[in-house]
């Protein structure tokens, strides 16, 4: 395991722990999805396999720590990253607006899939969750903007492909 991989895993572990603390401490509508932010950052800037392996295993850990049925959060993370990258694929590669849109779409898709899979009775609880989902997406985007302002946009944008 290289130092970069260990650092990425540590960052993801911290993000999951922080997400759990936020979920436990704040009302659901007031929680930004820092787990997803970290996942997207790692997908762009560390290794493409974070989009599949990373999303699956981190989702599995998230679900286990939140005592949710296994597989639900993995599915949500996989679909969120996939759709967010699909949206971003239609936009310019290195634009802060595109990144912001990607984060918002990923947050919405992640929460929507989680509610669809975990809400009981199925679909009945969805209307009640729509407003909190929108709030979470807005908050996640706001956290992304804040981190961007503090660290500089360029550091969060995807790097140019490395020469092999």
């Amino acid at each position: 395991m290289t130092a970069g991989t260990a650092g990425s895993l540590a960052a993801m572990g911290l993000a999951i722990a922080g997400q759990l603390l936020l979920e436990a401490a704040l009302p659901s509508r007031a929680v930004p999805n820092i787990y997803l932010l970290t996942l997207i950052y790692l997908c762009h800037n560390r290794h493409p396999r974070w989009r599949t392996d990373g999303a699956f295993w981190s989702g599995l850990v998230m679900g286990a720590m939140l005592s949710q049925p296994p597989g639900a959060y993995s599915l949500a993370a996989l679909l969120a990253v996939f759709l967010a990258f699909s949206v971003r694929g239609a936009l310019a590669r290195r634009s802060s607006l595109g990144m912001l849109l990607e984060v918002a779409v990923a947050s919405l898709v992640f929460d929507l899939v989680a509610v669809l899979l975990l809400g009981r009775p199925v679909l009945v609880s969805l209307p009640a969750y729509l407003t909190p989902l929108a709030w979470r997406a807005v908050l996640t985007s706001a956290v992304f903007l804040l981190v961007s302002l503090l660290s500089g946009f360029a550091r969060l944008l995807p790097r140019a492909p490395a020469r092999r």
Binding site: P48, P69, P70, G71, A72, L75, L78, F82, G89
Partner: protein
């Protein structure tokens, strides 16, 4: 769609994506049951390690014994509760100089309070006759209306067909307790000058040789209607006994032929 991997790894990235998608779905459908089953199996093996093999005949026999004792314990607890209830009933009946028999409510016309009837598991073979008074430690329940060989039908005092001569304590004002078709109990024909207030208790009286023994609690005054016309007072009563939840009653058998009242 955006490529799932970078550059020439797009095909394998997409393959891994679908693979993980399929695994997630399988976990979602079967994972919970599989994990809990595996956890149960591991727990059982760990218990075997710590407490011995649960599949041994001796262990199975002890397990059955524990189950049987637990059931017996539950039955004894229920018996103790009933014993306490009957003891209180007997304490009450010591004040009444009549033969009594305890009866269980077998059926009650629930839902519509007015016109409620209770079927009790005591009948003519137990000495019950028409007009026998039913009560609980809390107060008066009603009167037996019809008697069969092994069961009888009692009308509670919230039934419009039942009227009870009663007196208010402490004022001593006398009147008649009766209920309307909706099960609301009133005391009527009370002296208009009587000082009666909410919370005053109402007891049976045996004036004129009525079938109710004196001194059984009927209920308490819940509200007074001001400005009533006429020369008598009437007020609303709250029954002393919750007719919808009573399970057992004491049936006061009719007085002996020697004229006891």
């Amino acid at each position: 769609m955006a490529p799932m991997g970078g550059g020439n790894r797009g095909g394998s990235g997409r393959g891994r994506f679908y693979l993980y998608l399929a695994v997630s779905l399988l976990l979602l459908v079967f994972g919970g049951g599989a994990f809990s089953g595996a956890a149960g199996w591991l727990g059982a093996r760990f218990a075997d390690l710590v407490a011995g093999d649960s599949r041994r005949p001796e262990t199975a026999r002890l397990r059955e014994a524990v189950t049987a004792l637990s059931l017996e314990n539950a039955r004894l607890r229920e018996a103790a509760l009933k014993s306490e209830r009957y003891r209180r009933m007997l304490g009450i009946t010591r004040t009444v100089s009549r033969e009594t028999v305890a009866g269980r409510v077998l059926y009650r016309s629930e839902g519509i309070v007015a016109g409620m009837e209770m079927v009790l598991d005591r009948g003519r073979e137990d000495g019950v006759e028409e007009g026998a008074v039913c009560m609980t430690p809390a107060g008066l329940v009603g009167v037996v209306d019809r008697v069969d060989e092994a069961t009888c039908v009692a009308l509670p005092i919230t039934n419009p067909a039942v009227q009870v001569a009663a007196a208010v304590y402490p004022s001593g004002a006398m009147g008649i307790v009766r209920s309307d078709a909706r099960g609301r109990m009133d005391m009527v024909h009370v002296d208009i000058a009587a000082a009666v207030g909410p919370g005053d208790r109402v007891y049976t009286v045996s004036a004129g040789g009525t079938l109710y023994p004196a001194g059984i609690l009927v209920g308490e005054v819940s509200s007074l209607e001001e400005g009533q016309p006429g020369l008598e007072k009437r007020f609303r009563l709250k029954p002393a006994v919750e007719m919808e939840s009573v399970e057992e009653v004491i049936i006061l058998l009719p007085p002996a032929a020697d004229g006891e009242t």
